[in-house]
Amino acid sequence: MSAQHVEDRGLLRFLTCGSVDDGKSTLIGRLLFDTKAILADTLTAIERTSSKRGMTAVDLSLLTDGLQAEREQGITIDVAYRYFSTGTRKYIIADAPGHEQYTRNMVTAASTANLSIILIDARKGVLTQTRRHSYLTKLVGIPHVVVAVNKMDLVDYDQATYDRIVADYKAFADQIGLTDVRFIPLSALNGDMIVDRGERLDWYDGPTLIDILENAPAAHTEQAESFRFPVQYVCRPQASDNPELHDYRGFMGRVESGEIKVGDSVTVLPNGLTTKVKDIQLYGESLPKAIHEQSVTLLLEDEIDISRGDMIVSSAEVPAQTKQVEAIVCWLSETPLSPARTYWLRHTTREVKAKVASITHRLDINTLDKEATSTLAMNDIARLHLKLAQPVFADNYTDSRATGAFILIDESTNNTVGAGMITGLNT
């Protein structure tokens, strides 16, 4: 093994939210630049573009400019993913555009993140969009929030300004129930408090942004979880030349939560039969256990008929089996939701038909007001009830993101039109 494998703290996925004006692209550019994820030729290309646009310094925000269509309009349309590594941890940034009409993109970016960086322009303080981003962060269940008060250089690195913003934000965070919030003053433009501390924020003695990221808890490591294993694929190599494999039945999938050991009692849904784990395999090797997010093959003691869409779970904590769910849904499609239509609902590896039974209310994500409605337009967020043709095996989203989330698919176009988070299960 070579030198850089000193310690591997795994991988952290985080989200950056803010508008173009908050300096979000500059912040990401700075993170990539200061962690040496940007190489010379990329830098040369953006230097060229910066000077073409009449700028004197290199505009790091150009690093995250993606599509031609976006460059033409000078805005970000879609979620982009960026990567950097510190040697001890790998990071995946989901960069979501900040505009109100892109709520669906922020929800998309947030769905896989374990930490959210919310940018505030120090000159402007807590704005409507700050509240929107915070609320969506809470809604999508991102457990950790870092409020980055950026552009401190434009307020002369004034501590009182920072303190005022922190106090404002805290009041709002309490109101919506955001619990783990950390604050940091920074200047993405000058690189203060990102990777290096800089010299102009002496009054701040907390960690730099990269320190916060390095020490942020990884997903699945903070609360006790129940074992959930949606079956993706069944391996039955009967025709193989190896006679030992003729009775092989391997259930392939990923441990979505919890952990599993050889000998553990498991229950198979929907048939409800209980057996024990005989072996856990990966590429011919037997493993004593498998943990959250690990893709493996399970072999069971008893011969049970199991196919894709079934779920193997801990016998001690069986999830709800239900044909009625209550959920918060974000509508993603330009075609509005129609309560008269049937949609495909994809939950883990299971796909069932679904219809809206009732829409409880739509949420105004700026004011958090609840409004009555009979349909949903793109970017709307609503609480609703769904009826399903077959049961799903689900947990509440707040208990388990992987088994509490679903998407809705338009039967005719096959487009993904809705994203749902289960809030109630009627069994």
Binding site: D8, Y83, K90, T108, Y233, S240, N242, E259
Partner: protein, 311 residues
């Protein structure tokens, strides 16, 4: 019993696990997928991931290579050897056949055939009725790829519409398509060049020899190292030097391997994977910046090619 597990997967284990999950989703959701295998380093990783995803069973898909006819013979030989070792079916479709059919027309004899692979790929998709193509593209390669979905929808003409992509949330992938349309699935989307090399090192994966430092005749052409007099499978030489160009013998290795006309090597003395990992950690030039002559045509050329059906 619910348990609190403080342990997490290492970053390579996490990436591997995600890729396995994606491959199994393609196999579970699509009826006739295919895995694109060129013999290049990314697709070599893809084969190991497919083994981890599906062994002891057979792969639930064949392998396919779209051969431009201008590939390094070391890579073509490696491709055939690896497919045979795995006992999996390899389909090869060639841009030269599309040229004979008249569906690919080169502007001139020396034009790069790289972008014309799209035509041959679409013809092969139609011929076999594939509803999903699994490929080894990575989001860190190029900025048009940074916004690519893991399961990316293509219409009947193989076109990618960057402004109208299916939202992709959690790990719930939507690989549904109508007849004639298809899905491009990218299991190693979240990997970087460094991750790929670390994985090759960890898994002790064999690679074609041209990935390691070797001496070959090259010329310097507008700042790039251009290999010349490259022998093809049939013994014919391609990439002949232009009049007046000075041929030098240089120690080089390839960071990326594709059509001979558009992949350039870098100067290097890294003759094993460990040295390459170290070199990758300290390089100052991106993988495509150093080596892909076709991406430099315009700032948006990858975006353009993808819209036209390119991988």
């Amino acid at each position: 019993m619910s348990t609190l597990t403080k342990q997490t997967l290492s970053h390579l284990d996490w990436l591997e696990s995600e890729a396995i999950h994606i491959m199994r989703e393609v196999a579970g959701q699509c009826s006739n997928p295919v895995l694109l295998f060129s013999g290049g380093k990314d697709s070599i990783c893809m084969l190991r991931l497919a083994e981890k995803a599906f062994r002891p069973g057979k792969f639930p898909f064949p392998l396919m290579h779209i051969d431009t006819g201008h590939n390094y013979k070391e890579v073509v030989a490696f491709r055939d050897k690896r497919a045979a070792e795995l006992g999996e079916r390899l389909i090869v479709r060639s841009v030269e056949d599309s040229m004979k059919r008249g569906t690919v027309v080169l502007k001139n004899e020396n034009e790069s055939r790289n972008k014309h692979q799209s035509v041959t790929l679409l013809e092969a998709i139609e011929e076999f009725g594939f509803d999903a193509c699994i490929g080894g593209a990575r989001r860190d390669e190029e900025k048009a790829r940074a916004k690519e979905r893991i399961m990316s929808f293509r219409d009947e003409f193989g076109q990618w519409d960057p402004k109208n992509q299916r939202p992709e949330l959690w790990n719930l992938y939507n690989a549904r398509s109508h007849k004639g349309e298809n899905i491009r699935a990218f299991p190693i989307s979240n990997w970087t060049e460094m991750d790929v090399w670390q994985y090759i090192e960890r898994e002790k994966l064999e690679l074609p020899s041209i990935y390691f430092a070797h001496t070959r005749p090259v010329v310097m052409r507008s700042g790039a190292i251009v290999p010349v007099n490259v022998p093809l499978m049939n013994g014919e030489l391609t990439n002949l030097p232009k009049p007046g160009e000075e041929i030098i013998d240089l120690q080089v290795r390839f960071r990326t391997v594709g059509d001979i006309s558009c992949t350039a090597p870098v100067e290097s003395d890294a003759d094993n994977v460990e040295k390459i990992v170290l070199e990758t950690a300290t390089t100052t030039i991106t993988e495509r910046g150093a080596t892909r002559l076709d991406d430099q045509t315009s700032e948006a050329s990858m975006e353009q090619r993808k819209k036209e059906g390119y991988f």
